[in-house]
Symmetry: C2
Subunit: 297 residues, 2 copies
């Protein structure tokens, strides 16, 4: 029975080790996820920055082309105005006015796209870089907090492991002490029944002395074993209480970690990221839209 | 008196010639103006065509740059999606959605500017070329009509010139015939007063015969001159009537030309030009604006 009990203990410890291993794997996996998420965010932000850098270039190029075009025809008008006096009241012609309107419109478009390019370069890209930095900072801080929490978890589980092992050890010892005590009791019983037989059948003086000393010996042993058993039983009970307290504490820590801490960590990362990114981007959008509406009207 | 009269006639003809010359200068000037106006219109239309040709190029360039940019990042997303399985549910992230929105917006801008370029190339420029052709046709037709009107004006003034000269000639002749007749009457009077003295003081037969014949001679001359004068007077009156009729007709033609024909010609040119140009350009503008409003909404 003791060997099966021992086997059971071993199984429990193996089970426990498996569970702890699984938890550690999960922690590693969680960090990996966090890292991947941050990486994909940074990658996205880098892509956006690169995109807006190139878009700013395109807008500037477009703006310059339009400006050059308008300037080319405006200077043509100026020079023809200087050289030809008869064109003095040309501005009264509607088609000439239309032409001026087209040129002014082109210049305005040029200005608008230059402003857009400027907004991309000096607002959007700078802001995206800031968000990238925020994401890196958020990730580092989250990882630090995560590491602390993991350490606590590991510490608690290690303690539980030690306490559990101690309990199992004392439990085993207590059981062996109990069985030894039972052996002693059996021996005593045997001795008593022997001495009863002797009292009834044979009352040999020379025989009596050694028998009495052996009874005393057995009793002494029994008392010793009884004391040992009591001591072990007490230790075992203490270890059991320790184990139960630690078990409850560990379960509380694990539950707290999985139910609150992990989701807090994710929320903190996400919330920080969204608070950092969405507000400014929507501001830029409003600016952009208002410019365009202005442009149309 | 006759010489001053002649001088006056000469002055009148010179005046008339100056006036006709002025009118001819005006006609030449009018054609020059019409030509300059058409030329400046054609120049303007050519400028507009060149402008829109270049603008179409700029729009196409801009459109291509935007498309290239969007395509570059879209293909990057596609390749990363194929290689990394863990990014499967990335489309659930709001920042990724934002990124897709930006790329789609860029593609749409690219399409819009390509359409704009297409409108410039296939509608605006073609239409401007048609307007140019219309202007040339309008100018040619107006010039043809103008030439006809000018020819009529020149013809009428030439006729008036001839009639006026004829009248002046007959008038001069009539005046000289009148003075000759008056000379004859004076001579007759002298003769009569001489013969009266002779009747009273000296009645010499031998003297009477030749004196009677000279009286007859004078009378004959007087009659002849009277006939000549009457004939000239009639011719002169006829020429005067002709002249007055022609003068009225010429004035009517000149007034018609200056008051109605010139302004009709200008109106015809302008109206044709504006009818040809404004309608289509406004249509293009509406298309353009609606596209842009569509783009913003």
């Amino acid at each position: 029975m003791s060997s099966t009990k021992f086997k059971k203990d071993k199984e429990i410890i193996a089970d426990y080790e498996t569970q702890v291993k699984e938890i550690r794997n999960q922690l590693v996996e969680q960090f990996k996820c966090l890292e991947q998420q941050s990486e994909s965010r940074i990658q996205l932000l880098q892509d956006l920055q690169e995109f807006f850098r190139r878009k700013a270039e395109i807008e500037l190029e477009y703006s310059r082309s339009l400006d050059k075009l308008a300037e080319r025809f405006s200077s043509k008008i100026r020079s023809s105005r200087e050289h030809q006096q008869f064109k003095k009241d040309q501005h009264l012609l509607s088609s000439v006015n239309c032409w001026y309107l087209v040129l002014n419109q082109t210049r305005r478009e040029s200005r608008d796209h230059a402003t857009l390019s400027d907004i991309y370069t000096n607002n959007v890209i700078v802001r995206l870089a800031q968000i990238s930095e925020d994401v890196i900072r958020l990730f580092k801080k989250s990882k630090d907090i995560g590491i602390q929490m993991h350490e606590e978890l590991v510490k608690v589980t290690n303690e539980l492991y030690t306490v559990m092992k101690t309990y199992h050890m004392y439990h085993t010892e207590s059981i062996s002490a109990e069985s030894k005590l039972k052996d002693a009791e059996k021996q005593e019983e045997k001795q008593f029944s022997k001495s009863g037989d002797l009292n009834v059948n044979l009352l040999r003086h020379e025989d009596r002395q050694p028998r009495r000393s052996s009874v005393r010996k057995i009793e002494k042993m029994k008392e010793k074993r009884q004391a040992k058993y009591s001591e072990n039983k007490l230790k075992c009970t203490k270890a059991r209480n320790d184990y139960l307290l630690n078990l409850a504490a560990t379960n509380a820590v694990v539950a707290k970690y999985y139910i609150h801490d992990v989701s807090d960590m994710i929320d903190c990362c996400d919330l920080g990221y969204h608070a950092s990114s969405t507000f400014r981007i929507s501001v830029c959008r409003v600016q952009f839209r208002s410019r365009h509406e202005d442009w149309i009207s």
